[in-house]
Symmetry: C2
Subunit: 136 residues, 2 copies
DNA sequence: CTTCGTGCAAATTATTTGCATGGCA
DNA sequence: TGCCATGCAAATAATTTGCACGAAG
């Protein structure tokens, strides 16, 4: 599975790989097209899905919006409800939570996903600016 | 906002309300149609969205699948990767996590969502059955 | 009565799939 | 050279929206 190393795969992986990179499929598509305008959206989706299965990247979804995360290691996320940006949360992924749920619920837990939502520091700044303008 | 109390709203709210109730929009649609076969899918969506905004229910999404939860209080969830069932997790919603992220990240956190995934007890049983069959 | 909510169908959005062809191994 | 991966377009799936009509207040 995923044997052949095509030019498209290399470009997509280069674009999405790396710690702190979070992109929607369309963003990946747009970025990849700068290097190869002939590439198709379906190819981007196919390869992103493949890379998720291979554990090279991961997919993070929040309320209908999906992001591909260049860092496959489990970690938590923060989403700004103003600008929609997603970023890594400054937390330590806590595997102990899973064990607690297994014990209390009589289930097997493979993993968990924590998504914090609120307002990012940039949007906080912008809001402060607007407040100032009102008074000037 | 949502002034009129229509028959449709009453039925939808009755179907979705309650602790432990998690349904997809289609499931709500199917259930509601048993009481009123004339009801439209768009009406179901419109009202579920309204009730979310009003804080009467909440929407929970996991990797592209959305559930409406009859209990609006923040709490964690568990999703079975075999049968897809979603249920409340046997955990205590921890508001302290939000404060930690606020402090470490310089952001405002309104809430968080934790979704555990794994195998539910029913699916575990079924797997055991299959194992036995192999040996009998 | 007036205006909001509904039902229906069409429109959107995000993603997947079928198929003929080109390109890695 | 053989078969997988690609590009394109069409197919799906989930949800939203426009509009004329019916019903709640």
């Amino acid at each position: 599975m995923n044997r052949r190393c095509t030019r498209q795969k290399q470009i997509i992986l280069r674009v999405i790989s790396g710690d702190g990179v979070h992109m929607t499929a369309d963003e990946v598509y747009a970025a990849v097209r700068k290097e190869d305008p002939e590439i198709g959206l379906a190819t981007v989706y196919r390869n992103l899905n493949l890379m998720c299965e291979e554990g090279r990247i991961q997919k993070v979804s929040d309320n209908g919006v999906s992001f591909y995360d260049g860092n496959p290691a489990p970690h938590d996320h923060f989403v700004c409800r103003i600008c929609g940006t997603i970023m890594d949360a400054p937390t330590t992924y806590d595997r102990a939570l899973d064990a607690a749920v297994e014990e209390a619920g009589g289930v097997i837990v493979d993993r968990h996903s924590i998504i914090f939502s609120g307002i990012c520091s940039e949007c906080m700044e912008k809001q402060k600016e607007k407040e100032k303008e009102k008074w000037s």
